[in-house]
């Protein structure tokens, strides 16, 4: 147990160091090395935070699905804690991506919000995973809360692609051009490098945050994971057979 904790702390320190390095490099690349966008100017630099945040959010939600299914199959509360930690990170990153996208959109499109499929889908994702986190509070039993959250995680996630396609078709049938359709011009290699390093920094930071959150959740939860060896009944077997009556 002690060695596991020590090893885990050492991994955390390594991760933290790698995150700081990657984040520093990403900041330098994104703010100093990468050129400003030819069309959008300086506001485009928000991309180096917005895109990694969205990437980390999607990665977290995929992890929530895997952990939810694993929890439903094994009923192990460790999987539930993984789902919960990933969902919390995903909700935070989704909110960040939406907020940054909105700030980026204002100077570029002249609007805080457009009815783009990616935006609508992302907001629906945010709502689904807020629901996922909230259903734990329906009752007091951690095992029941875990089961409910896992069920919501599964129903919510399988619905997301259908939500996305509905909004895509809704947009394309009403207005052929999408505001966010990718620029056909290839990205400057310096921009691509900055973005790649930023994505790496966010991913490392995400892993670190989830690991630390898992330790907090484990400390707050039951000391031992569910399937403990069966203790023998203290009272001996209770057998009820019909009484023989006179």
């Amino acid at each position: 147990m002690a060695t596991t904790t020590t090893r885990s702390r050492r991994t955390d320190r390594l991760l933290a160091a790698a995150t700081v390095l990657a984040a520093g490099a990403a900041a330098v690349l994104a703010l100093l090395v990468a050129p400003p966008d030819a069309v959008q100017g300086q506001p485009q630099r928000l991309m180096y935070v917005h895109v990694p945040a969205a990437w980390l959010a999607y990665l977290s939600f995929a992890a929530v699905l895997v952990a939810s299914v694993a929890h439903l199959v094994t009923r192990d509360l460790r999987w539930d804690r993984r789902a919960r930690a990933a969902a919390e990170l995903g909700v935070g990153m989704t909110a960040l991506a939406i907020a940054l996208g909105s700030i980026w959109g204002r100077p570029v499109w002249g609007a805080w919000w457009v009815w783009d499929p990616r935006l609508v889908t992302t907001v629906v994702l945010l709502l689904v995973y807020l629901g996922h986190l909230s259903v734990r509070g329906l009752g007091d039993d951690p095992a029941t809360g875990a089961r409910r959250a896992a069920a919501v995680g599964v129903i919510g996630f399988v619905n997301v692609p259908v939500v996305h396609f509905s909004v895509v078709w809704w947009r394309t049938l009403h207005q052929p051009a999408s505001v966010l359709s990718p620029d056909p011009a290839p990205m400057d290699p310096r921009m691509a490098t900055a973005l790649g390093v930023a994505v790496l920094a966010f991913t490392l930071a995400g892993v670190l945050v989830v690991r630390r959150r898992l330790r907090v959740l484990a400390a707050a939860g039951p000391a031992e994971p569910a399937p403990a060896p069966l203790p023998s009944p203290v009272t001996g077997p209770l057998v009820v057979t019909p009484r023989i009556r006179p």
């Binding site: 023998s232 009944p233 077997p237 009820v240 023989i244």
Partner: protein, 245 residues
Amino acid sequence: MTGGAAACGPVRPVPPRAGGSYSDAMVGQPAVGSGPASPPAVDPAAAAPVLTLTGVSRAHGGRPVWAPVDLSLAAGTLTLVTGPNGAGKTTLLRLAAGLLRPSTGFRACAGRALYVRGGGGLRTAQTVADAVSVTAALAGRGAAVLPAVDLLGLRGLADRRVGTLSAGERVRAALAAAIACGPALLCLDEPTAALDRQGLLDLAVVLGVVRGSGTAVLLATHQPDVLRPSADAQLAVADGRVALS
């Protein structure tokens, strides 16, 4: 089909019993209040276990309610469950009925297990006759409705809405519905609280008939005195353990 989605271990077949089905057993039985409580004549050797709990416990909020229990109930037995408020009587009954998933251990039940809390179980907007018959239909036992209604002396109340019944009458209506379903195990949670002395005596008669057709009854109560003479065992739930008393 046993209850809900709870874990249910391997199901042991119950040997066919003499006396046939519920409806047969109920036909010709005295109506409520017309005779004294007579314990059923059951041959102990023929009584196979209906319910087997092996090392079963249940945690609420991470803490076990009581130490793991090994419990075996034979067909046709009446077991009283007593204990102070909050000791875990309801938890034991709901685990036995398969409504709660055990935190540890296994549950095996040979047939349908039902749990009824007080006079609950029926929709209040329905008449007694409708409520009992839609419930029995879920068990595919429409033919058992009339005998059950008669057994509980509900003929006169058949057209009353369940919501307008008194507490004692609701207990009888709920029992009629549950009995009509022909359960292998019937878990009754505090059916006695709303009953007067005559009501308790009537309940003993009804339970005698039900047990005569092979149903094991697990009954939680704070008033065990009237039922104790006809009971096969009494389980005391207290201080985090379940024990025979």
